[in-house]
């Protein structure tokens, strides 16, 4: 893998670790209203806390939350939602895509027409409609993201599997009378995986940004569990009055995460494509 690929992978892993360890890294629990001090609200970065003497390195928001702690917890939610919905959508899409490629005929036609219809809707619109129907919540937004994204994986898995199924090793596996599920999972799928992982890395970025957008619009997660998108939304009204830090720092973190995902996807694509390997 390229140096850029490794760099983004390591940075992403570090962010993931920081998000997982948020309860231990953060100086306060931003969800516990009892620890918040309303007198500390909207302090600029580097300010000292009034009572306990700690420092708010990235400032505080309107409720007096330490931004750094809020961002660590927010990152935790954003990544959890993104990774979970990506894994679920990948699984669903791969199963349906492989079935379509293997069976062909009407199974293929049915699945792929649904995919076509699904992809002709903007993902954000579909997610908005679903969330409007179900209401906010972590599980609901994961479901909405799954519904908005499985079709990409199904289409990619199908086209990759069609290429592999043309190869003689699949014919050989059929002649050896291996069970169909085994041919698909042990022979076809591993050879489609490089392509699928590339798409997954890209879609992970899309899922995280979609969740941020939905939260920004107030449709995603409850206010009590702010993700990065909600943090940005919370600071939005103070942006013009000079209190930039409430929106800008969560925004920067989001940009870093998304850039890492995209760089990683690019590196994975280059690795999977031998024509690009030498560059």
């Amino acid at each position: 893998m390229s140096r850029r690929g490794w760099f983004s992978l390591i940075l992403l892993a570090a962010l993931l670790l920081a998000a997982l360890l948020a309860p231990w890294l953060a100086s306060q629990n931003p969800y516990d209203l009892a620890t918040l001090d309303i007198l500390d609200a909207r302090l600029p970065p580097g300010s000292a806390a009034l009572d306990h003497g700690g420092t708010y390195w990235l400032g505080t928001d309107a409720q007096g939350r330490d931004m750094l702690s809020a961002m660590l917890y927010g990152l935790r939610i954003s990544l959890a939602v993104g990774v979970l919905s990506t894994l679920l959508a990948l699984t669903a899409g791969v199963v349906l895509g492989l079935l379509a490629a293997w069976h062909g005929r009407w199974v293929d036609a049915l699945i792929m027409r649904v995919v076509d219809i699904q992809l002709s809707f903007p993902a954000i619109l579909l997610a908005l409609v679903l969330l409007a129907l179900t209401g906010p919540g972590v599980s609901k937004i994961v479901l909405a993201l799954l519904a908005a994204q499985w079709a990409y994986y199904a289409r990619t898995a199908r086209s990759a599997a069609l290429v592999e199924c043309q190869k003689d090793y699949v014919a050989a596996a059929r002649l050896l009378r291996l069970p169909t599920w085994r041919i698909l999972l042990r022979h076809v799928l591993p050879n489609c995986l490089p392509t699928l992982l590339t798409v997954a890395a890209l879609q992970l970025a899309a899922a995280i940004s979609l969740e941020a957008t939905l939260s920004f619009l107030g449709l995603g997660l409850p206010v009590t569990e702010p993700s990065l998108g909600l943090l940005i939304a919370n600071g939005f009204q103070y942006l013009l009055s000079g209190r930039y830090w409430i929106s800008v720092f969560p925004g920067l973190l989001l940009v870093v995460v998304l850039t890492c995902c995209n760089l990683l996807a690019d590196a994975l694509r280059q690795r999977a494509d031998p024509r690009e390997a030498g560059r």
Binding site: K167, D168, Y169, A171, A172, A173, R174, L175, L176, R177, L178, P179, R182, R186, H187, P190, N191
Partner: protein
């Protein structure tokens, strides 16, 4: 006379071609009423130009492709569509015929393990199969891309033979190999045929190879069998079709 091992009767294969957006449909007759009988222990060659239908026929015989019309019989019994345990195939492009992400040992042992053909240890089984095709058992842990062209061809043969077939169909199995390696593989096929009593169906565009390996040769042209002859009489074929 005793029952033939395999018999294909009145096999036809046609494709419907749709021509552009106006959908003028035309039919391509890839195989036209082809019948073929193979007796146990026999070695039969099929020769023909590209487009003569010989590879389509091979895929129908092994059960990868259901024919538009016609039946297959195995020791007198009608075969349903699909592969049969007794018929295996060696493919032309050994690189594409071996799953690039599986080690040699898995390539060879996977199917026998599932079908319960491995009675003692699996590594012993794989070593026996590799030895039989003249490969060092130490290659068992390699991936296909770590093998030479000749070694890959041998692994392809070992995989087919590991499930104990009686009929081995070789579709241009040596066409992509250098002449020295081709000679080694041809010798190996001869030797395996003798040792295992295999029936061999050898599809090739190379008359020299077929004449060397086969007792009986079937000549195909435009989807039909135009001639069936003993290998020794092949010299009388029209030279415009083949180089001697």
């Amino acid at each position: 006379m005793n029952e033939p091992l395999f018999h294909a009767r009145n096999i036809s294969q046609s494709y419907v071609l749709a021509n552009g957006w106006r959908q003028r449909r035309s039919t391509l007759q890839a195989l036209d009423d082809v019948s073929l009988t193979l007796h146990a222990g026999e070695s039969v060659g099929i020769v023909g130009e590209s487009g003569s239908g010989k590879s389509t026929l091979a895929r129908i015989i092994v059960g990868l492709l259901p024919p538009t019309a016609g039946e297959r019989y195995w020791q007198g019994q009608r075969l349903p569509d699909g592969p049969h345990a007794g018929i295996q195939m060696v493919f032309q492009d050994a690189a594409s015929a071996l799953n690039p992400r599986a080690r040699v040992t898995e390539l060879i042992a996977e199917a026998p393990r599932i079908h319960g053909l491995i009675t003692s240890g699996e590594s012993d089984f794989v070593a026996t199969q590799l030895n039989r095709v003249g490969l060092d058992p130490q290659l068992a842990q390699r991936y296909p891309h770590q093998l030479s062209g000749g070694q890959r061809a041998r692994v392809g043969i070992a995989r087919a033979l590991a499930v104990k077939p009686q009929l081995l169909v070789c579709d241009e199995a040596v066409a992509a190999l250098d002449v020295l390696i081709q000679a080694q593989i041809l010798n190996l096929l001869q030797q395996l045929r003798r040792e295992l009593g295999l029936t061999l169906l050898f599809i090739s565009h190379d008359l020299g190879v077929v004449r060397h390996l086969c007792e009986r040769v079937v000549v195909m042209h435009h989807g039909r069998i135009v001639e069936t002859t003993s290998a020794g009489q092949l010299a009388g074929l029209p030279s415009s079709l083949f180089r001697s």
